[in-house]
């Protein structure tokens, strides 16, 4: 189940259109992501990047188009099935469980793969205990991986923004996703922390075998780690390709990067 079927891309987005009243947030957007890639998704503010994510996690309906994941059409599944299918995500504006500790947040992340039943929980049946042990082990592993051990028992709401972002990442990884959607993970990080993040994302791909779809405005990061970049503008795809090609694309420069984008890096 964990081995991607050969040939076909892991994720294929086809002619997805999303409208809010008069606003066309996505206009027949199509692209695909190969397994094992890090794919950057960039574009000006309001271009529709987060909307793509919301379609992928079924928070929005993707109109006429379709989304295939690992060869299966997922654009009609209920929202809560996406984690089980192997799509994990973080949120642009943080969506943690504020009253819980870091560890508990990660444990909830394990839910996608091992949903818990009421009867088992009430009576503490052996199956339930085993699941719990496994979840705890997974959480411990990720706490170590993300260097969150020190604040494992702290309530997330009190933590600094950067740490909260890492907790979100850990929570998404707990569900053992095959595709990880990261919405602006570099926001609010300084230069040094950025480099750490780049290394971390690479490690997630290489060590955990997770394909990454990355929305980010920090060009330095995107260009450095992406295998492929998709560019949106006003809900339409305007360019796609390897980073080096995309950064030379005149329309991308005009709409997004500006003449000398060096100063943004």
């Amino acid at each position: 189940m964990n081995t991607p079927s050969t040939g076909a891309p892991l994720l294929r987005v086809q002619a997805v259109t999303v409208r809010f009243g008069g606003i066309v947030a996505l206009d027949a957007v199509s692209f695909s992501v190969e397994a094992g890639q890090i794919c950057g998704l960039i574009g000006p503010n309001g271009a529709g990047k987060s909307t793509v994510f919301n379609c992928l996690s079924r928070i929005y309906d993707c109109g006429a188009g379709s989304i295939e994941f690992d060869g299966r059409r997922i654009s009609t599944l209920p929202r809560h099935r996406m984690a089980g299918e192997g799509i994990g995500r973080t949120f642009q504006n943080l969506a943690l469980f504020g009253s819980m500790s870091v560890r508990e947040n990660l444990l909830v992340g394990c839910h996608g793969r091992q949903p818990a039943g009421f009867v088992g929980a009430l009576l503490r049946l052996p199956g339930e205990r085993r699941t719990e042990r496994e979840a705890q082990a997974r959480a411990d592993e990720l706490l170590r991986f993300l260097a969150l051990e020190d604040c494992a028992e702290r309530i997330v709401a009190d933590l600094p923004f950067g740490t909260q972002k890492r907790v979100e990442l850990g929570r998404a990884l707990c569900g053992r996703p095959r595709l990880l959607l990261l919405d602006e993970p570099a926001c609010g990080l300084n230069h040094e922390e950025l480099e750490g993040l780049a290394a971390l994302i690479r490690e997630i791909r290489d060590r955990l075998g997770v394909t990454v779809l990355l929305v980010e405005h920090h060009m330095g990061l995107v260009m450095a780690i992406s295998d492929q970049v998709v560019v949106l503008n006003f809900g339409r795809k305007i360019a796609e390709g390897p980073p080096a090609a995309v950064r030379q694309h005149p329309e991308v420069i005009q709409a997004y990067l500006g003449g000398a984008h060096a100063d943004a890096a």
């Binding site: 089980g84 839910h111 088992g120 009430l122 719990e132």
Partner: protein, 310 residues
């Protein structure tokens, strides 16, 4: 549990066991009522405190549990102990059935829907086509169970001990639930429903489930109270009951297990204490005491005690 907690818990249990032999019948009866409310509050807390679904009408499930027990005893001659699981089962089903459509409602809207349930329940109990079972406005009078096996206990003592056993079991189950994956899912839904779904939590299922379990607990509380009071009538289950339950949850401590007990003590004893202060406007006193309580302990008694411990 840490050692301190364990010993404290053991001591408390011992005290609770000794209580009926130290106090007079009336106090034992009151204590039984406290236990029955505690179960009900625990149920409401699972829903409102842990799952974040406000219910202003949980008295309806308390009533349903009480009536289930009463009807089974009175009309079908079931022994009292068998009515407890039956009441739980009936309320579980009713809770899930109510919880499913209520899934679409949040906050105030859910408050209204549950409020409506609380208002409608006494009227349903009076409904003429149900009278053969419910006894209509007259209600049903029940017999109090004797202690079994010829134990030398009064009815009050025995019923108290029985209720205590039920309470201990139900608290243990609730603890299991809340410390499991399902429990975390329930809390996650409260904190951030959308993120919970993104983590693979089926909100519908857990919310309906939480509603069911909550109703089950509250129904069992109702059944215990019916057996203790030996009487059920529509007038026993007015809106005021639902409101008291909510008050109990908040005073005890939203989202805490032990809060149920403190809340139950509050709703049983403070009104009578207020009456002692003045008979002219006892509820004004009650209201003032209530406000002082939430001023001093906005997180409830249980949270205050927890903090002291740390």
């Amino acid at each position: 549990m840490r050692l301190v907690e364990r010993t404290a818990f053991a001591l408390l249990l011992l005290l609770a066991l000794a209580f009926p032999f130290l106090a007079e019948g009336y106090a034992v009866f009151q204590a039984t009522m406290v236990l029955s409310y505690a179960v009900a509050l625990l149920g409401l807390n699972i829903l409102t405190g842990y799952n974040g679904q406000i219910s202003l009408g949980h008295g309806a499930f308390y009533a349903l549990g009480a009536y289930t027990a009463a009807i089974l005893m009175d009309r079908f001659g079931l022994p009292y102990w068998a009515t407890i699981p039956a009441a739980g089962a009936v309320c579980l089903v009713a809770g899930v059935l109510f919880g499913l459509p209520a899934l679409k409602l949040e906050g105030l809207y859910l408050a209204l829907a549950t409020f409506a349930l609380g208002v409608a329940m006494p009227q349903l109990l009076k409904y003429k086509h149900l009278e053969p079972w419910t006894g209509g406005v007259q209600g049903l009078v029940l017999a109090k169970p004797d202690a079994p096996f010829g134990l030398p206990l009064t009815q009050d003592q025995w019923l108290y001990l029985f209720a205590l056993a039920v309470v201990v079991i139900l608290f243990a189950l609730a603890r299991n639930l809340l410390h499991s994956g399902a429990g975390r899912a329930i809390v996650a839904i409260r904190d951030h429903p959308l993120a919970a779904q993104a983590m693979g939590i089926d909100n519908r299922r857990y919310k309906a489930g939480a509603f069911g379990i909550s109703a089950m607990y509250t129904g069992i509380g109702g059944a215990l109270s019916a057996i203790a009071v030996q009487f059920v009538a529509p007038d026993s289950f007015t809106m005021f009951l639902s409101i008291s339950l909510l008050v109990g949850v908040v005073v005890g401590g939203v989202g805490t297990l032990s809060g149920a007990l403190y809340g139950a003590l509050f709703i049983v004893f403070v009104p009578t204490a207020a009456e002692k202060i003045t008979q002219s406007a006892p509820w004004a006193i009650y209201g003032v005491v209530l406000i002082l309580f939430v001023f001093v302990m906005p997180g409830g008694v249980a949270r205050l005690l927890l903090r002291r411990q740390r």
